[in-house]
């Protein structure tokens, strides 16, 4: 099981702070494609963090990881 955290407008669009995705192993890109289809969200501008570190599209996510969908940030 992969734990997916949603923030800002994504949290509102998806309607949840947290999702669980049933996979043993997949790439960041694969996960984004899956979420894009399922929730009709735009994922082009999203950066993904895996276990609190920014990840690349080809990086692997494994069951037990915590993934965060990070829209362009606007703090400060």
């Amino acid at each position: 099981m992969i734990n997916v955290l949603c923030f800002a407008h994504l949290k509102e669009q998806i309607g949840k702070e947290q999702l669980e995705v049933a996979h043993e192993k997949l790439t960041v890109k694969q996960l984004l494609n899956e979420l894009q289809e399922k929730y009709a969200i735009q994922t082009d501008a999203l950066i993904v963090a895996v276990n609190e570190e920014y990840a690349d599209p080809e990086d692997l996510i494994q069951s037990g990881d915590t993934v965060a969908l990070i829209p362009p940030v606007s703090g400060g």
């Binding site: 082009d44 940030v73 400060g76």
Partner: protein, 157 residues
């Protein structure tokens, strides 16, 4: 670490407290940057803001900014506190304090810190206007997602 230098909090921020963390005998200069909620942005009146953070990661990223500063300015000491939640106009959103032996470095380092916060720290701002509200889409504050959706790819690092 007795004192936490990099904090994301839903409580009001004290400029004094953040500044005090970096004052030390070997530093003669502290540059503090205080980000407050501005009423007008691009001609549009903001009533209030909401900041949301991925808190645990945001604190890690702030710490990373502190490390980047220490690499560029080895004598610098940095403390950053960022607020989350609902903020009224003129409330403090972020305080950055950097102390250095010499003042030029303090200015450069704290300016560096605020630029980096807007690039790599997972915190988001929602602007509330008289006629609506919107999550703000990038750190340069030049682009609003027209329908609450991000456009274009950001380079993080």
């Amino acid at each position: 670490m007795l004192e936490r230098l990099f904090i994301v909090t839903d409580q009001p921020i004290s400029v004094e407290e953040v500044t005090k963390k970096v004052v030390r005998p070997e530093a003669g200069a502290v540059s503090s940057f205080i980000g407050t909620v501005r009423e007008y942005t691009r001609g549009r009146r903001t009533l209030s803001l909401t900041y949301e953070a991925y808190r645990s990661m945001a604190e890690k990223q702030l710490e990373k900014i502190g490390e980047e500063i220490s690499r560029q300015w080895p004598d610098a000491k940095t403390a950053i506190t960022h607020r989350t939640g609902h903020l009224a106009i003129s409330e403090i959103a972020v305080v950055i304090a950097v102390s250095t032996p010499h003042r030029k470095d303090a200015f450069w380092a704290s300016e560096y810190a605020i630029e980096r916060i807007k690039q790599i720290v997972p915190i988001w701002k929602k602007e509330h206007w008289e006629d609506g509200e919107q999550w703000i889409g990038n750190q340069l504050e030049t682009e609003v997602y027209p329908e609450g959706k991000p456009k274009g790819v950001e380079s993080h690092d």
